[in-house]
């Protein structure tokens, strides 16, 4: 048996106490390391609960920032610029979807008659059989901007805008969103006004003739009574029996710079001198068809084929449609970030669902209630790629306002992308049901993880504020803004941090504290290690000296000394690590936080590192003790 081990056994109490000292130090430092590790995890987890975003301000022309080589490019993809604090861009995708068995929401149905634009282009699609009762044509002067060949504005010219207004008596409502039957007053007449003429440039309607009309169905015009009695709808219909059909909103749109909402039909301008009007392009769906006899017979004939096979099925599909936003982070959406929208039941998506593209979704409270959906239910989404645009608020309540309403084009057979999936509802969110704004969405919007749709990047549209946010590292918005200012884009973004700044200091304290714990733990370990080695080798020194005097080789003494110390060290570290783990468990069990719970991997790593340090120091000490010069030692002793 190793002579030094024998010595340890002979002086068992001393050895045990020495080992215990080291074990205690290892335990304390393990607790320190575990606490440091836990605090770091905790800090990161708390940090991860907050999302700092930069969203473009609506009053400045910000999209220029997103262009590189004439292509809209997210910040993170712009290689030449290094934006401080920039973590990622959430380039969200947008699709429409046919949701089988789930009806879309109508603003009318939710007692919001303020703007028929909210219903475009889903449930507002309708086909009615009518008889023309009056037609009036108008020629209104308008100012049109004139540009030179360099696209510089050089002035305006006066043109004549042709339009017409027709009224019809309703023969039959062939296809209309079912809820309108109960919500809207009974319709006897329908009015129709447009600047879109026939292919020949003529008013397409004649008094006394019967037509099929297709377009967006709007309820009667209303005004809002602020003093309506309780239980009585504050919306009052001006002429309840007169409803309206529209194909376009050209007249109200041209000044705003927004998309015109021409997402259902396509048309082209026809100019006749100073007079301008529009006509449908050849590939556009028709918005009217003259018929004689019964409309049922018309639909059966060849001329009715497009109505029978395309328009009517399209209406039915759109009554069960919804907008779908594909996102990589719900909290980067402005409304969710500011708390105006929040998950009311269930939960939001987790990191795994975003990464793996799990088929899960969030629906609004209103949508869930209407379609009797609850958390855990499954809905079937059949995706369509539709255009996205804004309509200016035609709100009768806030008459004359210029607030935008986000609308998407209808689901059409030719836009179907061929992806259909069952999505599980994991959460139900609350948000303003129908609201105006560049960053706002309507209550029939479904959110899904972006990766759940194949080739999702094809459906991104970073030029729409709703579909783009810059995600910043928490607490770096000042640096980011300073950098943007240096590029000449100061004030382009607004920043939202979910009140992260209020706890930023606390997180800094936690970081510093975690480091201090590590330093305290390590100091205790190092001091105890020094004490352990000092006492252990002081005890072994005379024996080693004696062995060398007896002619035993230095290397052998050194090896035996190291082996004996290593065994003691190994036992002490193992006991210490176990003691540390047990104590830490006892403590953290009372604290009730999973984040600072003991991580065996971290503890093992710490113990292994401590063992390595001790073994290294033991090897150095063994080398020194066994390598002492015998003659000098004797002389010293004789002195």
């Amino acid at each position: 048996m190793n002579l030094f081990s024998k010595l340890s056994l002979r002086r068992a109490v001393f050895s045990a106490l020495l080992g215990l000292l080291l074990s205690a130090a290892v335990a304390v430092s393990s607790i320190g390391v575990a606490a440091w590790w836990g605090a770091n995890v905790q800090r990161e987890q708390v940090n991860a609960q907050y999302t700092t975003i930069a969203v473009p301000r609506g009053d400045v022309f910000w999209t220029g920032l997103l262009y590189e080589n004439n292509t809209p490019t997210p910040f993170s993809c712009q290689t030449e610029r290094d934006y401080p604090g920039l973590m990622a861009d959430d380039c969200r995708g947008f699709l429409a979807a046919h949701v089988e068995g789930c009806e879309t929401l109508s603003a009318y149905e939710l007692d919001n008659f303020g703007s028929p634009d909210f219903d475009a282009y889903g449930n507002s699609l309708a086909v009615v059989a009518v008889r023309c009762t009056s037609v009036a044509e108008y020629n209104d002067p308008i100012q049109q901007a004139v540009y030179d060949e360099n696209d510089e504005l050089i002035g305006t010219e006066e043109l004549i805008q042709r339009s017409y207004e027709a009224t019809f008596s309703i023969e039959d409502i062939i296809c209309r969103f079912s809820a309108y039957d109960t919500v809207l007053p009974e319709a006897n007449e329908i009015s129709f006004g447009s600047s879109v003429f026939s292919a020949e440039g003529e008013v397409p309607f004649e008094e006394g003739k019967t037509y099929l009309l297709f377009g967006n169905y709007e309820g009667p015009s209303v005004f809002y009574d602020d003093f309506a009695e309780e239980g009585v709808s504050p919306w009052e219909f001006r002429a309840p029996e007169i409803h309206r059909m529209t194909v376009s909103r050209i007249d109200s749109m041209t000044s705003s710079g927004f998309d015109t909402g021409n997402l259902l039909f396509s048309w082209e301008k026809i100019e006749d001198g100073k007079k301008i009007a529009y006509r449908l392009t050849e590939d556009s769906l028709p918005f009217y068809a003259e018929y004689s006899g019964s409309w049922q017979d018309f639909l059966q004939r060849d001329v009715g084929q497009v109505w029978r096979e395309r328009i009517l099925p399209m209406c039915q599909i759109n009554y069960e449609s919804a907008g779908v936003v594909l996102t990589d982070q719900m909290n980067s959406l402005l409304l969710f970030n500011t708390g105006e929208a929040a998950v009311l039941e269930g939960r939001s998506f987790d990191a795994g669902e975003y990464a793996e593209g799990t088929a899960v979704c969030l629906v609004s409270v209103a949508y869930a209630q209407k379609n009797a959906l609850s958390v855990g239910d499954t809905i079937h989404l059949d995706f369509y790629q539709t255009e996205l645009g804004y309509r200016e608020n035609g709100n009768y309540r806030n008459n004359g306002s210029a607030e935008p309403i986000l609308v998407h084009g209808p689901c059409r057979a030719e836009n179907r992308i061929g992806v259909q999936k069952d999505y599980t509802v994991v959460g139900i969110y609350t948000a303003p049901e129908f609201s105006y704004g560049l960053h706002r969405f309507q209550a029939d919007t479904i959110f899904v993880p972006k990766a759940s749709v194949p080739n999702a990047s094809a459906y991104e549209n970073i030029l729409h504020p709703l579909l783009y946010s810059v995600i910043l590292k928490n607490g770096t918005e000042a640096d980011f803004e300073a950098y943007m200012e240096s590029l000449g884009y100061g004030g382009v973004f607004s920043y939202f941090d979910q009140d992260y700044n209020a706890l930023a200091e606390t997180l800094t304290v936690i970081s510093a504290n975690a480091l201090r714990l590590l330093v305290i733990g390590s100091s205790i370990f190092l001091l105890a290690a020094a004490l352990f080695l000092f006492l252990n080798f002081r005890r072994a020194k005379p024996i080693a000296y004696g062995l060398r005097l007896l002619g035993i080789l230095r290397r052998k003494v050194q090896r035996e000394l190291f082996a004996a110390t290593a065994i003691l060290t190994l036992i002490a570290v193992a006991v210490g690590a176990a003691l540390g783990a047990a104590l830490y468990r006892v403590v953290t069990a009372r604290v009730l936080s999973e984040l600072i719970a003991l991580r065996p991997g971290a503890l093992l790593l710490c113990a292994a590192l401590q063992l390595l340090v001790l073994l290294f120091l033991a090897a150095v000490c063994a080398c020194r003790i066994s390598g002492g010069k015998l003659m000098q030692g004797r002389r010293k002793k004789s002195e």
Binding site: L18, Q42, R57, L344, N398, T430, E433, I520
Partner: protein, 395 residues
């Protein structure tokens, strides 16, 4: 008596010389004490810093609350009686309702259509962020004339902001005015104090309580309302007060024009606070462990450093020295080393923090006391040596 004094002085000198002779062990013992004190001071400082950080977080975090309908379907176009806003702002204290003692930063807007100016609306707001259409992200640009601040919207001043380009009348005082006539014929003469340009609607914005007395106000139909919790330290009490007037939104609730929900967005705050609290509890629990551990280490270190002097103690006993005196000599040395170490540890703790709190001194004192108790126990055990037995072994 003199002989006693002389012998005491001699003993002290012997004790000091012994400490010096065994300087390795002495330094180690002092170092252990220093480390214990430093660790306790550092840990106490860590705890104190964490407590301060948590207090700051609790004080500075705004917990937003959004008023919805009872089911949580909608938070805009609420059509809620302004009496609810009156309760939140403290204008109504009926039936022991003191909601203003639970909430702050109330944001609300109410819009009425105007007969005049035609095509415009009058929007009563409590602050700019009451109206999302005033936000820069939506493209609005708000400009207040010199001398006016947003705070005026929390008063009942007869002032307003108008969309740029709105016609105004010049008053006798040289100021611009707008006369707003509502559908029921109520007329408000409002002084123009600012403009709104950019992408915005045709609304004249005035203080929520413009031209209202401080008593009971007119009833408006409020479109949207939100507020913050007044005091996060009393979060539960504040929430309870809020839920006395509002309900917790749930799909299971019955929709009613008299019942409104409030979504209190405290999830992230509470979750962060829980984590900070758990972290603090961990630190607080580490301190007793450290104390016990240093008691043990004190005993062990003392025992190991003085057990080698057993022969000395035996000789002292043979020379007639009392056990108590030997204990006093040995323990005195330990105390000296411990205090020396404690001073060094305390100083290191002070250097690391540039301050030392009374609590830290208390904790350091406790650690030192436990350490010395361990040392005393070790000294007692070692100095109670059986001389005969020891001599026998040495023979």
């Amino acid at each position: 008596m003199k002989a006693n004094t002389t012998s005491g002085k001699a003993l002290r000198q012997v004790a000091l010389r012994t400490l010096w002779r065994r300087k390795g062990a002495s330094i180690l013992l002092a170092a252990v004490a220093a480390l214990g004190v430093f660790a306790s001071v550092a840990l106490q400082n860590v705890i104190a810093r964490q407590e301060t950080g948590m207090r700051d977080m609790v004080r500075n975090t705004s917990i937003h609350c959004v008023v919805t309908d009872a089911q949580g379907r909608n938070s805009e176009d609420l059509r809620m009686y302004s009496a609810f806003v009156d309760m939140l702002t403290g204008r109504r204290h009926e039936r022991d309702c003191y909601l203003d003692e639970a909430v702050k930063n109330v944001r609300a807007k109410a819009t009425v259509q105007l007969e005049q100016p035609q095509g415009m609306t009058l929007r009563r707001i409590l602050s700019f962020d009451s109206d999302s259409t005033l936000s820069a992200t939506e493209g609005a640009n708000v400009r207040l004339f010199d001398g006016w601040t947003e705070d005026v919207f929390r008063t009942n001043a007869a002032v307003c902001m108008i969309p740029e380009g709105t016609e105004t009348q010049c008053g006798e005082d040289g100021q611009q005015y707008v006369t707003a006539i509502t559908q029921d014929g109520t007329s408000l003469q409002l002084q123009v104090i600012g403009t709104v340009s950019g992408r915005t609607d045709n609304a004249i914005r005035c203080p929520f309580y413009a031209q209202q007395d401080s008593g009971i106000t007119e009833l408006y139909s409020v479109e949207s309302c939100s507020f913050d919790i007044l005091d996060n330290e009393r979060l539960d009490a504040c929430k309870a007060a809020v839920y006395e007037v509002f309900v917790e939104p749930s799909l299971a609730n019955t929709a009613s024009s008299r019942t409104y929900g409030v979504l209190i967005q405290d999830k992230a705050y509470l979750s962060s606070l829980d984590e900070f609290r758990s972290s603090l509890s961990l630190l607080q629990l580490l301190l007793p462990i450290l104390t016990v551990l240093f008691g043990g280490i004190g005993f062990l270190a003392s025992y190991l450093t003085i057990r080698g002097r057993m022969r000395e103690f035996a000789v002292m006993r043979c020379l007639g020295m009392k056990r108590r005196k030997i204990f006093a000599q040995v323990f005195g040395g330990q105390v000296l080393l411990a205090f020396l170490g404690a001073a060094v540890g305390g100083f290191a703790g002070f250097l690391s923090e540039r301050a030392i709190s009374a609590a830290a001194i208390g904790k350091a004192g406790l650690i030192l006391a436990v350490f010395l108790a361990g040392a005393a126990l070790a000294s007692r055990n070692v100095t109670r040596v059986n001389v005969m037995k020891l001599m026998k072994v040495e023979e």
